[in-house]
Subunit: 306 residues, 2 copies
């Protein structure tokens, strides 16, 4: 990207996007998916070091008109709250109560918006990816954790706090009776049964070392299909986007689609579900960039809102 | 209401509201919950008779500025579709493909809006009831069927079709292992396990004949709590409103609240859930009038939208 950086630097406005994930931080300065000035990523360690690295990166690549942050959570997203932009409970040691938003607002004097990493990814796909032109989409990431974000009537879901879709309860697959689940809060919630670490705990090796014909994948698809069935019945999205590390196993998609159709059993008689399932349940068009590009889209929205 | 009718008749504008439920139709002409001109209800039989009765009632009580319909479903709510306002599949014999909206648009030359009965009830509570001033609410009815409607960022959830929240899958309660569930489409989806007819099928008598200390209620509360947990994790509503015939059993509320808290287990660290659960999971402030008043609110919205 070296040459383009210099060429593009003079074409404002630029935006800063941060995907603050539980596993890694991704930082980007861009004006959209086809106009990325610079990008970096590093593992999420303790807050001081990780936030410090992000600040150093963005300082080096100023100026930008605004900043968007998609963060892991749960996070306080109520602008009227004294702890707006802080993390609450966190499964990640050391991050409880971390003031994510305040840290960047203090470092950079630009409009800065914050949302969940998965709401940001949903916004990214809605703006430039598989959700373009749709009224309502669901974005689910299946990786170290499971999280979902959503756009309803063109706007991100907030309400009381923000969605925590990985923590829904689904029926147990009968062959999986003895596995307790690995969520420290709920044991066998969806995240406890179907996240990357759950697959590793159940089968004794990481997901990317398990061959495509292993029964692990039919079970994984069954759990994710039960979850997608529940989200579809609750939110009625125009499209379901499944991203994250586990979904790099592309053979999961046809398995999940077939199971979702079976679960809905014709009750939602929509061609999109009955016939065009391959267009209904899809990978992110922005791939693994959905989150950080969503943070760029959030920065743009924040600047626009003034 | 006789005298008031004559007195109020001259105070326009009036609106027509129809709650077209699978069990009964409720028809109202009103200008809000404190200004009801006239109301009637009758059982849902076959479409010709039932729709005919509703038309006759509204003809008798003209004029009104607009009409709102909250209907059972599933129903086509896409204004661009040739079957807009028609039912799709219906569990109710004879109603498949019934043109609910067209029937009333043909009979009355006023702006007419249509939505699901439960989205209408959510809108009613949002406008005049337990959802006033909130950004996002969930309304669940538990009766002959189970259905949910929702307001997100002040607007009803549509997307691909509309929510069908009664058809989510939840884990089976261990004591309930042998009951197959009564949903003709899904067997043991939530509606198949926890609707009024499911209670009757499992215990051999209707819900309102089962005493409050019977184990049926702890099981019912457990299923509804699993569902509420899932909706809260997916939609993050500011309030959860539980209505419908089964929820007339008020002793269910404390049981459900306790179970939801247990299921969330502190992961959503919000005072509304941790401490004020009695303010978070509530009966409809409009009681059994939520649906038909919601239809009145929908009529108002439709006239306003022009």
């Amino acid at each position: 990207m070296g040459k383009d950086q210099t060429m593009n630097r003079n074409k404002p406005p630029w935006y800063a996007g941060l995907e603050a994930g539980g596993t890694k931080f991704v930082c980007m300065v861009a004006a959209g998916p086809d106009n990325v000035l610079v990008q970096t990523s590093f593992p999420t360690t303790h807050p001081e070091e990780t936030l410090g690295k992000a600040i150093a990166f963005f300082k080096e690549h100023r100026p930008f008109a605004g900043m968007g942050i998609g963060t892991f959570g749960p996070c306080d997203l109520n602008p009227a709250s004294p702890t707006y932009g802080h993390l609450f409970t966190s499964i990640k040691p050391g991050w409880k109560d971390a003031d994510i938003l305040g840290t960047f607002r203090q470092a950079f004097d630009v409009p800065t918006g914050i949302d969940t990493d998965v709401n940001a990814a949903a916004l990214g796909e809605f703006t430039w990816g598989a959700g373009q032109g749709l009224e309502s989409i669901l974005y689910l990431t299946v990786g170290t954790g499971i999280g979902g974000g959503g756009i309803v009537n063109g706007r991100m879901i907030h309400g009381l706090m923000h969605p925590e879709m990985g923590h829904i309860r689904v029926p147990r697959i009968s062959e999986d009776g003895s596995f307790a689940g690995i969520c420290p809060y709920h044991g066998d919630c969806l995240q406890g049964l179907a996240s990357g670490p759950a697959i590793q705990a159940r089968w004794g090796k990481p997901a990317d070392e398990i061959p495509a014909d292993h029964p692990a994948w039919q079970m994984e698809a069954s759990y994710l299909a039960l979850a997608v069935n529940n989200y579809v019945c609750t939110l009625s999205p125009n499209r379901v986007i499944l991203g994250g590390g586990v979904m790099h196993q592309k053979h999961l998609f046809p398995l999940i689609r077939a199971q979702v159709k079976k679960l809905l059993n014709g009750y939602i008689p929509w061609p999109m579900i009955l016939e065009k399932t391959a267009d209904y349940i899809v990978p992110p068009a922005l791939g693994d960039q959905a989150g950080v590009l969503g943070a760029i889209a959030l920065a743009m929205q924040t600047v626009e809102a003034g």
